[in-house]
């Protein structure tokens, strides 16, 4: 069973923001790449998948955290999978009831949220060791971060691959879309470009810090 005797750390803004930027599941941890590449050919699909994952992440983290004191270590993975599968089934029914078009577009990838390592990873490394509120706040941040990443991919792919955004035409009839962008290779091109940008930003920040330190050392 989870160790519940350590002193709990308080909930800070970082508990929530960490998942969006510093520990972004797609751009930093490179987790959940299968749905991130497969369904982000349009912005709407990206939003749909992102919100579905966010819902499953928050609900499963809450339930795992709530039951953490009664789940024996030996059956924890089986328990987490059942909990996650429950919320995936719920979200599957919900999307089917909300929009048939979105349900058909996302296809089997809704059911495959069960296998998304971001969710199982959160349950194992965070929700099973923290209180419900803290786990929910953290899961919410991670979910927002995942949705943000999917949105970044989906928007670029739809704009370049179809010349539209959320179905609205941007460049008129004369635009020749880059069909490759809405195909699987396009997913790899776009995620590669985003990773390059994030890595460049990170390096620039580190260089700035080093420069500041050097200046401080020289003057001090």
């Amino acid at each position: 069973m989870a160790d519940l005797h350590h002193k709990p750390t308080p909930i800070t803004m970082d508990t929530f923001l960490r998942g969006i930027w510093k520990e972004n599941p797609v751009f930093v941890m490179l987790l959940g790449l299968c749905p991130a590449l497969a369904v982000t050919n349009t912005t709407m699909n990206a939003i749909g998948m992102g919100l579905a994952t966010l819902f499953v992440l928050v609900c499963s983290s809450a339930l795992v955290s709530l039951l953490r004191s009664v789940i024996p270590k030996q059956v924890r993975i089986a328990s987490y999978i059942v909990i996650i599968a429950t919320f995936v089934t719920i979200v599957d029914y919900a999307i089917h009831a909300i929009s048939l078009e979105l349900y058909n577009a996302l296809g089997a990838f809704i059911q495959l949220i069960v296998a998304n390592c971001v969710i199982l990873g959160r349950a194992e490394s965070y929700a099973s060791k923290n209180r419900v509120t803290k786990s929910v706040v953290n899961a919410f941040g991670i979910g927002i971060g995942f949705t943000f990443a999917l949105l970044c991919l989906g928007t670029v792919r739809e704009v370049l691959g179809s010349g539209t955004i959320l179905g609205y035409s941007l460049f008129g009839e004369s635009f020749q879309p880059w069909v490759v962008m809405v195909l699987p290779p396009g997913g790899f091109f776009v995620i590669g470009a985003w990773l390059l940008l994030f890595s460049w930003l990170k390096e620039r920040k580190q260089r700035k810090i080093l420069k500041q330190e050097e200046t401080a050392r020289a003057t001090g």
Partner: protein, 234 residues
């Protein structure tokens, strides 16, 4: 070292405790899933019915939705059964559309065949007067985005024009089609029963024509037998 690890590891819980926990989780899971399924089932059915209704009017040309009537039927070797839309009894496989005077405007039928990634589902309009397919709506296609998906197929005017008057004439014995509906390579269409494939989405194009052919081969001979009943909305 390994001895230290073993001595520090927590004691093995009893099997009963593990079974109890898994049972509890399974119960919570079952309860939640059943509740949501029961709640969403009528909503999903209604959405599917509305989508089908919209599509039925789309595949019959010249329909004025405000005055037209749609009647659902179950057609099989056993006969033609008119279905009650209000109570939703039975599984409909034929939708007849009538004008305001009750005369048959066309018949909508469903077709499906395996595409590149999943089953491609379509709804097509059949006009018994010209014995041809007069319209087609892609109900579901999740094939390659940008090539064989629903929006791309429906947005390809040249491909959709195949279904403006696609011949599905019956043979003399009325038991099968005179010419099977088939997909041919882009630009090589010679017959009015052939579908000109989309270049780059040949598998999806073939799935559509295969679905149409299977459905027409099965349903049109049956429709011919019951056409006198279908012609007027009583």
């Amino acid at each position: 070292m390994s001895g230290d690890v073993q001595s520090q590891s927590p004691p093995m819980p009893s099997s009963l405790s593990m079974i109890r926990t898994l049972g509890l989780i399974a119960m919570i899971s079952g309860l939640l899933v059943v509740l949501v399924a029961r709640y969403t089932e009528p909503i999903i059915k209604e959405k599917e019915r509305l989508a089908l209704e919209q599509a039925v009017f789309q595949v019959i040309p010249g329909v004025v939705q405000a005055t037209a009537t749609r009647v659902s039927f179950a057609l099989s070797e056993d006969g033609l059964v008119r279905l009650d839309e209000e109570t939703g009894t039975g599984e409909a496989n034929l939708f007849a559309v009538y004008d305001d005077s009750g005369m048959l405007m066309g018949i909508a039928l469903q077709a499906a065949a395996q595409g590149y990634q999943d089953v491609v589902r379509t709804l097509y309009g059949y006009d018994p007067k010209c014995e041809c397919i007069v319209g087609l709506v892609i109900m579901k296609s999740t094939d390659t985005p940008g090539m064989g998906d629903k929006n791309t197929l429906e947005g390809n005017r040249q491909f959709m024009a195949n279904f403006d008057a696609l011949s599905v004439q019956l043979a003399e014995d009325q038991s099968r089609l005179a010419h099977a509906v088939e997909t041919v390579k882009h630009g090589t269409k010679t017959g009015i029963w052939q579908v000109d494939a989309i270049s780059g989405a040949t598998i999806t194009s073939r799935a559509i024509s295969r679905g149409l052919n299977e459905s027409a081969q099965k349903m049109l001979p049956l429709i011919a037998r019951h056409l006198h009943v279908l012609k007027v909305n009583n």
